[in-house]
């Protein structure tokens, strides 16, 4: 459920804003009513008769009309009997052989036997014997998109060895009998219109971890990630802030519902009991989605639950089932020593932990603390020299803090709090994570004139707005060549002056159209991306020749290219493929003495349909004083559709 709801949430976020209902609807309504009135009296049989039993129109297209018979014509009994929904499947639900539990009939699956539903659970632990609570997902109606249409059943797929199986299934899919572990092929055969997405377990875990951090910041300081879909929250001393445990659970559940997640929450004295109650809910939990087990009552609360609720491994569960031990109460009544001898210490430990006789420590997530270095002053400072001096002491403290965490700053904000409450901010960005104090200080000092001290500054703060891990990096250990200089510091320095957008690098693009053959990219991007490696049996392996460079180094290219080709006047040229004898560009006449060409370049019809027939014939010409230009003519000189034979100057050779 966590992965499924995460997918849905991402979709909602990515979805375009809801389109406004067209205004025309209201104006069309009278027309529509009139049309409906007309239709009422029409016969369902097409005009002109020709009715015969079993005609196609009677079977398919007209079924809707038959279902709502016009008042003028009562359908015959046999006709009413014929239109019917598909007969109920006469077969009983059979547990799938994939190991999944049969969920053909949701009422059964959720009713009698408490079944493990794969919902995300948050277990809140409270009190000195910790008290657990869990959250689980309820069934509810199928999700709908913004237009109110039901979404198709959604499952995620993951590769498990040789098989591609379902990793998670939405409630609608579960109702149709799909479950985790089922082969995708089988699921596709079983349910039409199934929406299958690749599973992203890493992303799910990361998202759950971010939720845990958010909960730890906002709700309770101790939040532990128990499994891929369960969190433990320690409510000790926190619940009263939210009006009690029940109120807190309800609020937490509402908050998660707003985010798009269905949660099952159980609150108990021990984490084990809370986990059990959240994952194996009794009937009380289904209503409002949370369950509060009163202090000291967790033994009774979990007694009736199946032994799977103790988080013990499946083999032990299987063996205990064979021995007739189904419920926790049965397990609790057994003597511990034989149990430990037979199954190891795990079962006994889990049992005692759930019942509160053994402690169960949880490992809370640590919330990352933003780095901020603050210097307050008793007397306000106002001069650039003073700010420079204090920056000189703040930056080493910042780099020490960064180094202690193994981070490098990539965005830093310097805030000078003025006496009159107008903060002065300097933001610097770094191309690569960096904690070199001298470099940071240089970047900050360069912008210091942007600080307006006003009546004085009473505090200076350096905030790390964005930091990335920065560890030791390998360098090329070669004696015969020098290490490549690090350009990141240069990029930072220039970016503070002209901005990152004003710096670029070029890289070749495979296109013969000159203006498309060059693309810009960020300065610090790796200049050359490794080409796609061909498979061993790929036909491309037969080509032993090195790949052609997209820029064709042998064909002369101009040093500068005009942003858009400029039209030439008074061009004298022979058709179809001769270079011009003379032309006029920017008011200056040129007499051509030498020329090379044409180099014919066709339009890239696969990029724009409009240039399907375009042709440019490029010529390299030299005039009588040795100036060399790159001209082209639109059209090949034979077919008018290729161009209008106008001449342009596109580039200049040196």
């Amino acid at each position: 459920m966590w992965p499924i709801e995460r997918l849905r949430q991402a979709e909602r976020r990515a979805a375009p804003p809801e389109p406004r209902a067209p205004e025309t609807h209201a104006s069309l309504d009278p027309l529509r009513q009139a049309a409906a009135k007309e239709q009422e009296h029409a016969c369902s049989v097409p005009r002109g008769g020709g009715w015969r039993p079993g005609a196609r129109w009677a079977r398919e297209d007209q079924l809707g009309k038959v279902a709502l018979p016009p008042v003028t014509r009562q359908p015959a009994k046999h006709e009413i009997g014929r239109r019917d929904e598909a007969a109920a499947n006469p077969f009983r639900a059979v547990p799938s052989d994939e190991g999944g539990r049969s969920r053909f009939l949701p009422g059964l699956a959720r009713g009698g036997e408490p079944s493990r539903s794969d919902g995300g659970g948050a277990a809140a632990v409270r009190g000195n014997p910790p008290r657990p609570s869990t959250t689980a997902y309820g069934g509810g109606s199928p999700p709908r998109d913004k237009l109110g249409e039901e979404l198709p059943p959604l499952v995620t797929s993951i590769r498990n060895g040789n098989r591609i199986v379902i990793a998670a299934a939405c409630p609608v899919a579960q109702m149709q009998g799909l479950g985790p572990g089922m082969a995708i092929a089988q699921a596709r055969a079983q349910v039409t219109g199934l929406d299958i997405r690749p599973a992203d377990p890493e992303g799910d875990r990361a998202h759950l971890a971010s939720l845990a951090v958010a909960l730890a910041r906002r709700w309770t300081p101790t939040v532990a990630i128990e499994s891929d879909d369960t969190l433990f929250l320690d409510l000790t001393g926190v619940a009263h802030l939210y009006g009690g445990e029940a109120a807190m659970a309800a609020r937490l559940r509402r908050m998660l519902a707003r985010l798009g997640y269905t949660a099952r929450i159980a609150i108990a004295d021990t984490p084990g009991a809370a986990w059990a109650l959240a994952h194996y809910p009794r009937s009380g939990l289904e209503g409002d989605g949370f369950l509060v087990c009163l202090p000291g009552t967790q033994i009774e609360a979990v007694a009736k639950l199946p032994i799977e609720a103790l988080r013990i491994d499946a083999a032990a569960v299987e063996l205990l089932h064979r021995l007739g031990v189904k419920r926790i109460v049965q397990l609790a009544a057994m003597p511990r020593a034989p149990l430990v001898r037979r199954f190891g210490a795990e079962i006994a430990t889990r049992l005692e932990q759930a019942l509160g006789r053994l402690p169960e420590p949880v490992h809370p997530v640590t919330t990352p603390e933003p780095i901020a270095i603050i210097q307050r002053f008793a007397e306000p400072i106002a001069t650039a020299e003073a700010i420079t001096h204090w920056l000189g002491t703040l930056v080493p403290r910042l780099t020490a803090a960064l180094e202690a965490k193994g981070l490098g700053a990539s965005r830093i904000e310097f805030v000078a709090d003025r006496v009159d409450g107008v903060p002065q901010r300097i933001r610097i960005g770094l191309a690569r994570p960096n904690r070199d104090g001298a470099h940071l200080l240089r970047l900050l000092l360069r912008r210091i004139e942007q600080v307006e001290p006003g009546y004085g500054i009473d505090a200076l703060t350096l905030h790390v707005r964005r930091a990335l891990p920065l560890g030791p990096e390998p360098f090329t250990e070669r004696l015969d060549e020098e290490a490549a200089p690090d350009l990141a510091t240069l990029v930072d320095t220039l970016a503070t002056r002209i901005g990152l957008g004003a710096m670029w690098r070029n890289h070749p693009v495979e296109s013969d159209v000159p203006e498309r053959s060059v693309a810009c990219m960020a300065v610090l991007d790796p200049p050359e991306r490794a080409g796609q490696r061909l498979r061993a049996d790929h036909v491309g392996q037969l080509d032993r020749n090195p790949a052609l460079h997209p820029w064709h180094p042998e064909w002369p290219k101009p040093a500068r290219l005009l942003r858009r080709p400029e039209r030439l006047d008074h061009v004298v040229a022979e058709l179809p493929d001769h270079a011009p004898r003379r032309f006029t560009w920017r008011g200056q006449s040129h007499r051509v003495v030498r020329a090379d060409g044409p180099e014919r370049i066709h339009g890239e019809w696969w990029k724009r349909a409009a240039e399907a027939h375009h042709v440019r014939d490029y010529f390299r010409v030299e005039d009588d004083v040795g100036r060399r230009y790159w001209l082209f003519r639109k059209g090949d000189g034979e077919r008018p559709m290729t161009g209008d034979l106008s001449w342009y100057l596109h580039g200049i050779f040196g």
Binding site: T493, L494, M503, R505, N506, A559, A595, E622, F653, G654
Partner: protein, 232 residues
């Protein structure tokens, strides 16, 4: 045994004996400012100066910073002058003052092989700043002076540059068949520190950024020119 000088070559020779022998440092000093201007305001001569700079930068070491005012450089053309697109970083400045400041930052970084800038106006102070920034490093500073106004010589303004060049187009090498041969430039060293000015015609940069002497000039001085051509 001047091994130190050999390892850290202080100057960048052209590889043409007839040209290098007339330069004070037997080449372009690496830690200095050099200025290049087109022979006229025409775009073609401007491009000749551009490629002349590109060839010098191509023979320098390491990454190159090219500070421009307009984005009209065509990377395939520069790569045919030996300046690979992987080595080249572009920066666009809004005005001449910003361009000179960016150039200075690049020179002070010491991790660049060459810094090229295109300005219309740079006074003595600006060129002196660039020269000071370049000193002590291995980054060659190349300033391209554009024609601000028709009929004004951009090299007339005083400057602290070590060498000042004027590059213009010349008719290309004649071919026995129809077509455009290898381009030629009329290169003039207008001023240099510790040397005489001169003027000569060279063939444009090849794919490694090296110029060459035209064949007729080379043949005339068989001893000097021919050796230089083979070395190139």
């Amino acid at each position: 045994m001047e091994t130190k000088d050999f390892r850290r070559r202080p100057s960048l020779p052209f590889g043409i004996a007839a040209l290098d022998s007339r330069l004070a440092d037997n080449g372009l000093r690496l830690d200095a400012l050099h200025e290049v201007a087109a022979a006229s305001g025409d775009m073609a001569e401007d491009c000749a100066a551009t490629l002349f700079l590109a060839g010098i930068a191509a023979r320098a070491w390491g990454p190159i910073l090219w500070v421009v005012r307009r984005r009209d450089l065509f990377a395939p053309g520069l790569s045919q002058a030996g300046l690979d697109h992987k080595r080249l970083i572009y920066a666009e400045a809004r005005d001449d003052a910003e361009l000179l400041a960016v150039m200075e930052e690049g020179l002070r970084h010491r991790g660049l092989g060459a810094v090229i800038g295109e300005v219309k106006r740079a006074d003595m102070t600006a060129s002196r700043r660039l020269q000071l920034a370049a000193e002590g490093g291995r980054t060659i500073a190349l300033l391209m002076r554009r024609h601000a106004r028709e009929g004004m010589d951009p090299l007339a303004a005083p400057s602290a540059a070590v060498t000042r060049w004027r590059v213009g187009c010349a008719p290309s090498t004649p071919l026995p068949v129809a077509g455009v041969g290898r381009a030629r430039w009329q290169v003039a060293l207008v001023r240099q520190k510790g040397g005489e000015s001169f003027e000569m015609q060279v063939e444009a940069c090849d794919a490694t950024g090296r110029c060459a002497l035209p064949a007729n000039v080379a043949d005339r001085k068989a001893a000097a020119g021919g050796a230089a051509r083979r070395a190139a």
